[in-house]
């Protein structure tokens, strides 16, 4: 997992409530055998005018000119500004995979669906909660300023606006530690590698047949 420390990036809007995981990445893409490469299909039904198929080259598909992510001014965005209950619906981890693959490392919204919120941390995406008024204000500032950027500092738990305003945010200690160090669940378990080796050594004595390769 990529660590998340600091980020300064263009902000793009997803200006509607209850964006579900099927909207983030439609179900036909779940048949894929990969966990990377979902970026071109992020928000597929909103971004394109036709129905996307897995494995298809998206560069020649008709794009929806009214969808903000297709506006030149949001090109290269890495912060997604969203509304309440973002990421509701199924538990598919493909949703944070798609966001991350597209280039979003951080989402700011008033609230999230639980499982999606968890899945973000496991996949190197930082979901930040700000109250609804603050989010509303950020939307207004963003719409008013082309090239609007925010700086996010996870260590300091602070967002800095172009005007110099500093907004603080909450994050659970353990999650912060994992994200700062790029530790996913596997990384966390591997910190106990010595204990695993010690267990294996002990077990090999007690139950050698579990370690004997086939004769």
């Amino acid at each position: 997992m990529k660590p998340f420390t600091q980020l300064t990036g263009i902000v793009a809007p997803m200006d509607r409530a209850n964006v579900d995981t099927d909207m983030i990445i439609p179900k036909q893409f779940l048949k894929s055998i990969k966990r990377s490469g979902f970026g071109p299909n992020l928000f597929d039904e909103l971004r394109y005018l036709d129905e996307g198929q897995p494995g298809e080259d998206c560069s020649n598909r008709p794009i929806n000119p009214d969808f903000p992510l297709n506006f030149p001014r949001y090109k290269g965005a890495s912060v997604l500004l969203a509304r309440e209950n973002f990421g509701c619906g199924s538990s598919r981890e493909h949703a944070p995979w798609a966001l991350e693959d597209y280039g979003f490392r951080c989402v700011i919204a008033p609230s999230y669906a639980d499982i999606f919120f968890n899945n973000c941390f496991k996949n190197g995406v930082l979901p930040i909660v700000q109250d609804a008024e603050t989010v509303d204000r950020l939307f207004k500032e963003m719409y008013a300023t082309e090239g609007y950027q925010l700086s996010v500092d996870l260590q300091a738990q602070a967002i800095t606006t172009p005007g110099g305003e500093v907004l603080s945010f909450e994050v659970e200690n353990f999650r912060k530690h994992c994200l700062l160090n790029g530790l996913d669940d596997i990384g966390i378990t591997l910190q106990q590698a010595e204990a695993i080796h010690a267990y294996e050594d002990k077990r090999r004595q007690q139950a050698p047949w579990l370690f004997a390769s086939r004769s």
């Binding site: 997992m1 048949k31 055998i33 990969k34 966990r35 990377s36 981890e93 496991k122 996913d184 669940d185 596997i186 966390i188 378990t189 591997l190 106990q192 590698a193 204990a195 695993i196 267990y199 294996e200 077990r203 007690q206 139950a207 050698p208 047949w209 579990l210 370690f211 004997a212 390769s213 086939r214 004769s215």
Partner: protein, 478 residues
């Protein structure tokens, strides 16, 4: 020393670390891999530059997407007609190659449904922790092991660390005592258990199945029971080790030999719940009360005895259950109050990780021997659980019995259990199936599944509707 349950013992023996809050790291002895839930896990390893922790703990075989048709099967991976299925099977081959994991490929005689293959090879042993990216992994608990299904991110976690982050579950005992009536099998026992405790009855628990009836069952029968623990809400089902277990394991390709065999037996003989061990929940059944079972609805708990009737919504007091019954009857196209015997069938499926072992095929063959399937049965599939089961059945001439009865003898795979290959039910078709899930659409869009034992499925194939298998067995003896 306090008395421990089987689950307590196995849990303690696999504990790598535990925090004060009870978050544990558990060591995994055996990881079984199939093509559906593994590709993203392998991809995750690659993206993170990680390697499998212990290659020899993994064993792979494709099953869900593998065609059961002999012609489609003949072409190997390249012959699979559905491109998505083909890609999944090919990806498994490639990943096993790349990481050096042993795999029984599509046309290897050892290939089959992972839950049939593991025990058959002695790759799952008593006292092990066994996991697989499939919810019916509890099957392996029949050998006295902790076995349960895991999700794709856990598959990656096990590959990379040989461990899982877990919390201990509660202990539950399902005790069945007494002698079974004729024609009643392990499948009927587990359906009766689910009918009694419901599909959430075992939630959060590891179920140990015990009692004299369970002890009298073969390992195949115990596997059928543990297989459906998940349908009772429990991720883990298990049976204590006894002589039957040890005799089953002896001489299998991956089983210990020589001095290791003696050490193993000494340990395995301790794998039972101590007298006086305390369970959080106990359920008891009298074997004599169990008749052949048939599910009438869209959840495994919607089950009745062969001589009973389909319930009506009014039979349920709770509004939620009443609504569920109504919805199920509508989907299944059945009337409340009609006799289970009067349910007409279109197809029959004998197979799946619940009931595709040699004993299952023998019991079905004993019923259809010298008979023909009814005219209204459009298709009756018999799909052995592994290449070795198939071979054994053919040596015993069971294939001929099925074929002469008008049934189709297929290649080992999951087949119509979940309709991922081309074996499917059509909309509205009723199927007597030996599999484990009767959810809406499970065996094909609009398909109507009735779960039964292999003997009952065979009897239904002959009669064209459900009947008590004893009516045919008595006839056979006369």
């Amino acid at each position: 020393m306090t008395a421990k349950t089987l689950y307590d013992k196995l849990w303690n023996d696999h504990l790598v670390a535990i925090t004060d809050e009870g978050d544990a790291l558990i060591y995994i002895d055996r990881h079984l891999v199939h093509e559906v839930t593994s590709p993203q896990a392998f991809e995750g390893l690659r993206l993170a530059g990680r390697k499998p922790w212990r290659i020899d703990a993994n064993l792979a075989t494709p099953d869900h997407n593998v065609p059961s048709d002999v012609n489609e099967r003949a072409g190997g991976v390249a012959g699979i007609t559905d491109p998505v299925s083909q890609l999944q099977v090919k990806t498994l081959d490639d990943n096993c190659d790349e990481f050096g994991i042993e795999e029984f490929q599509i046309n290897d005689v050892r290939q089959g449904i992972v839950h049939v293959v593991g025990p058959e090879q002695g790759a799952t042993l008593p006292g092990m922790t066994v996991v697989c990216g499939d919810s019916h992994t509890a099957t392996h608990g029949a050998l006295g092991a902790i076995a349960h299904g895991i999700g794709t991110s856990e598959v990656e976690h096990v590959l990379a660390t040989q461990c899982l982050q877990q919390r201990k579950m509660k202990n539950m005992l399902v005790k069945v005592d007494g002698e079974l009536r004729p024609g009643v099998t392990a499948k009927d026992i587990v359906l009766a258990v689910i009918g009694k405790i419901g599909t959430a009855g075992g939630t959060g628990c590891a179920i140990e199945f015990g009692g004299s009836t369970i002890r009298a069952l073969s390992i195949e029968g115990r596997m059928t029971i543990c297989n459906m623990a998940i349908e009772a809400g429990a991720r883990i089902g298990m049976v204590a080790v006894d002589e039957t277990t040890i005799n089953y394991v002896k001489g299998r390709p991956y089983a210990p030999t020589g001095g290791n065999w003696d050490k193993a037996i000494a340990y395995w003989n301790t794998l039972h719940s101590d007298p006086g061990a305390v369970f959080d929940k106990v359920v008891e059944l009298d074997a004599n009360d169990i008749l052949p079972q048939v599910t009438w609805g869209t959840s495994p708990e919607m089950v009745a005895s062969i001589n009973a009737s389909v319930p009506s919504p009014e039979d349920f007091k709770e509004p939620v259950k009443r609504a569920a019954c109504e919805r199920a009857l509508e989907y299944m196209g059945l009337e409340g109050g009609m006799a289970i015997r009067d349910i007409k069938l279109d197809k029959v499926f004998i197979g799946s990780c619940t009931n595709s072992r040699i004993e299952d095929l023998r019991s079905a063959a004993a019923v259809v021997k010298g008979r023909k399937i009814a005219a209204n049965i459009k298709e009756a599939l018999v799909v052995p659980g592994s290449g070795l089961v198939k071979k054994q059945a053919e040596e015993e001439g069971l294939d001929k019995i099925f074929i002469e009865a008008g049934m189709l003898w297929r290649q080992p795979s999951c087949s119509m259990c979940l309709a991922m290959n081309s074996d499917k039910l059509g909309a509205g078709e009723h199927c007597a199936s030996t599999s484990n899930r009767n959810f809406e659409g499970r065996q094909g869009f609009g398909g109507r599944t009735h779960l039964v034992s292999p003997a009952m499925a065979a009897a239904a194939a002959v009669a064209g509707h459900f009947i008590d298998v004893n009516e045919l067995l008595e006839g056979a003896q006369a």
